[in-house]
């Protein structure tokens, strides 16, 4: 098993029944679909929570069922689900699982059994998370950052059991991710096909690979923080708990350090932003290149930018803590390192634009989403420059400006890429084509809708409207226009919310009624489009593994018979 991967089918697990084929499956493609469906389902829960929050913010007082406690619980669960259980799981567990073996020419992940365990543990973590909605006191309302002491102190919604289910679920998620992440990294390093060098891999694989390495180094901090807070809550230790006056009584805890939790949390939390962003960067590069019929501009620079962003993201975490009371000199260091990240990120944005430059652009649905990503990402990145500077961040801290910033840069942007990627690879995954008109309608409502939602939020933030507030009430510094803007945002949000129905109708209808898809409908050069079967069969490549002779971006090569040259075509 050591190095005999070439054309050896023996190491594969061969399913014998429906159950081992589709339920306890060890096939990376089935696991990918299981991961994706679970992630999207729990993501829908978070989407509904956001709609409920917008109902309250846009029309305060009209929905007596939404109490202040509920509102805080919606905020917390929405944030955590979207960041960890939807985006991380979908991009790495879903796309990582599906694309890595197919794009590097492997038959499966190196350890399919561990890969299967990874999914089932992930499902368990989602189930534990969901039980939070049904325990006494409801889910935690501490905000997705779960800062102690308030997260486990009386008065915070869900401080009894909601916080426990959340922390346990996170710890299980970390174990599940570790099992998957080890597989993704080892597969990319050790199981590529003949001719597939690291510098011939599609950028999607580079993004997912780097993000997996980062996950393996960042999630430990979350794991440790979760364990320590569980001890604080259940065993009465004082890791994070100082002496406090709570509810008129002095707490029995003493000498703990709440700042320690923030450092641990953000040592995970900041790399987490790029764990979500890097796969999106990689995937969008491939979408742009394929649909613009041009090689990606500056491939090597794109690879190095991914790696450098990944490395830098480990030394910027305390820019989330400018107002936490840490030593102000730290702010100087972390502001500098934060702004340095703009350099590799700008390289990527320029290279995407230069790939489009004089390209033969086909404005199909995946490409529309890819181009939309460039817009939202530039906007989110620019507002990041404001927040990265200590002196500008301090007044903007905990306002809607922050909400607008991170939703643009790590909410909307990766989600647009995910939509684009699903439309792009759907014909390969299911062998059917979706409806173009419905897809375009879904795109335009979503793209214009997110601007209608998040652009006004920047304005609210600059006015000083605080985030995580149940209702603003009559406050002197908040003008009447804020309430109008909030109504507008809520209406836009509900329209975008409803428009996602178009996506699901399109996907599910096409699954059964869509026309049969061409094996390579976009004329792409990378390996996953060259499988003998569509959808790819177990073992991916039939009897013989493909041999790779060139990079994945030979589009519109002068003199070539077609406007793309597959990676498997030998050089003349």
């Amino acid at each position: 098993m050591a190095t005999t991967l070439a054309d050896d089918l023996r190491p594969l697990h061969h399913p014998h029944s429906w159950v081992t084929r589709y339920v306890w499956s060890q096939d990376h493609k089935v696991i990918a679909i299981q991961y994706s469906c679970t992630a999207i389902s729990i993501g829908l829960v978070a989407l509904v929570l956001s709609a409920l929050m917008r109902l309250q913010l846009g029309f305060p007082g009209s929905f007596p069922a939404i109490q202040p406690d509920n509102y805080l619980q919606f905020v917390s669960m929405h944030g955590m689900i979207m960041v960890v259980y939807l985006l991380t799981a979908l991009l790495l567990g879903g796309f990582g699982n599906y694309l890595i073996p197919l794009m590097i020419g492997a038959r499966d992940m190196v350890f399919p059994f561990v890969n299967m365990l990874s999914y089932w543990l992930y499902l368990l973590s989602v189930i534990v998370l969901v039980t939070g909605f049904f325990v006494p006191g409801g889910p935690t309302g501490a905000g997705w950052t779960l800062y102690p002491p308030q997260a486990i102190s009386e008065g915070t919604p869900g401080h009894q059991w909601g916080i426990v289910t959340m922390l346990v679920s996170l710890a299980i998620f970390v174990v599940a991710f570790t099992m998957g992440g080890l597989n993704y990294v080892t597969t990319v390093l050790q199981a590529r096909t003949k001719g597939m060098t690291l510098m011939r891999m599609p950028l999607s694989v580079w993004g997912i690979f780097t993000a997996s390495v980062m996950g393996l180094l960042a999630f430990p901090a979350l794991f440790v923080a979760a364990i320590m807070m569980l001890f604080d809550h259940l065993a009465g230790t004082s890791f994070f708990m100082p002496t406090m006056q709570s509810m008129g009584r002095i707490t029995p805890t003493e000498g703990g350090s709440p700042l320690l939790f923030q450092h641990l949390f953000w040592f995970f939390g900041h790399p987490e932003v790029y764990i979500v962003a890097l796969p999106a960067f990689g995937i969008v590069s491939d979408l742009i290149s394929v649909h613009a019929r041009r090689n990606i501009f500056g491939y090597r620079m794109m690879v190095w930018a991914i790696v450098i962003i990944g490395a830098l993201s480990f030394v910027v975490w305390a820019h989330h803590m400018y107002v936490s009371g840490m030593n102000p000199y730290f702010g100087f260091f972390f502001a500098t390192s934060t702004l340095v990240i703009a350099v590799p990120t700008a390289i990527k944005v320029y290279n995407w634009l230069l790939t489009l430059w004089r390209g033969d652009i086909h404005l199909r649905v995946p490409m529309l989403f890819a181009i939309a990503f460039i817009f939202t990402f530039i906007h989110g990145g620019l507002s990041g420059l404001f927040l990265g500077n200590v002196s500008v961040d301090v007044p903007l801290s905990d306002t809607f400006f922050v909400v607008a910033h991170f939703h643009m840069v790590m909410g909307v942007s990766p989600v647009l890429v995910i939509f684009g990627a699903i439309y792009h690879w759907y014909p390969k995954i299911f062998g059917r084509m979706w409806n173009e008109t419905l897809g375009k309608l879904h795109f335009w409502i979503t793209f214009l809708g997110v601007y209608a939602i998040f652009l006004p939020m920047h304005y609210l933030g600059i006015l000083g409207v605080p985030r995580r507030y149940y209702a603003l009430g009559e406050t002197a510094f908040i003008p009447q226009s804020v309430h109008l803007a909030n109504e507008w945002i809520s209406i836009a949000a509900l329209i975008v919310f409803a428009a996602q129905g178009l996506f699901f109708i399109n996907m599910i209808w096409s699954l059964f009624r869509g026309p049969k898809a061409d094996p390579n409908p976009w004329g792409a050069a990378s390996l996953e489009w060259l499988t003998p079967d569509t959808p790819p069969a177990h073992g991916n490549w039939g009897a013989k593994l493909p041999v790779v002779y060139r990079w994945a971006y030979d589009y519109s090569v002068p003199g070539a018979p077609r406007d793309f040259i597959p990676q498997t075509e030998p050089r003349a």
């Binding site: 080890l182 364990i227 003493e254 641990l264």
Partner: protein
Amino acid sequence: MSHTVSDRRDREVIAPTLREIAADWSADQEVFRHTHWGKAMMWIFLLSDTFIFSCFLTGYMTIRSSAVLPWPNTAEVFALVIGGQKIPLILIAIMTFVLISSSGTMAMAVNYGYRRDRRKTAILMLLTALFGASFVGMQAFEWTKLIVEEGVRPWSNPMGAPQFGATFFMITGFHGLHVSCGVILLLIIASKVARGHYDRTGDYSAVEIAGLYWHFVDLVWVFIFAFFYLW
């Protein structure tokens, strides 16, 4: 003179090594030539696990420096009275010695595994597991003494800072869990060695992979020993 020596070393040792590394990373199929997938994966896992223990230990150091009550003197707390004589850190010294010795027997087991010596490999692995189990046993004794005689609890500590007990039980507990898992892993693989499983597959890599994990657990202990007991 010394100039030319270092030049020669550059030319003959460092440059070819760098070229080899560059060749490995720019090759197709594998970055680490002829490396068992499991071994590569274990190395990557250990890197991740390093971050877990680093977070635990930095967390401990932060908490220790910010604790408001005095930290107990570890030389006193972890002393045993033997023959009327109070000897500081004696138990921990024995535990450390046992664990380091087990790394030695593990290394020998890996060596005999490469030579396909079924009997010696199995015996040395069993010996390693025995050392590991006795380490966990002594740790249980230490915990009992601390809880029953000294009255240390995760939430309180009669000798001062309550964080002393909390960090002690958490970090040594997490490490003890690692050792226990290692003992189980060693027993499983040793029994497979003894039954000739790896002779049939012709691949003794599992012994080396278990060895990697075992050495890592020992190495972590050295840091815990230094930061918790000697500080």
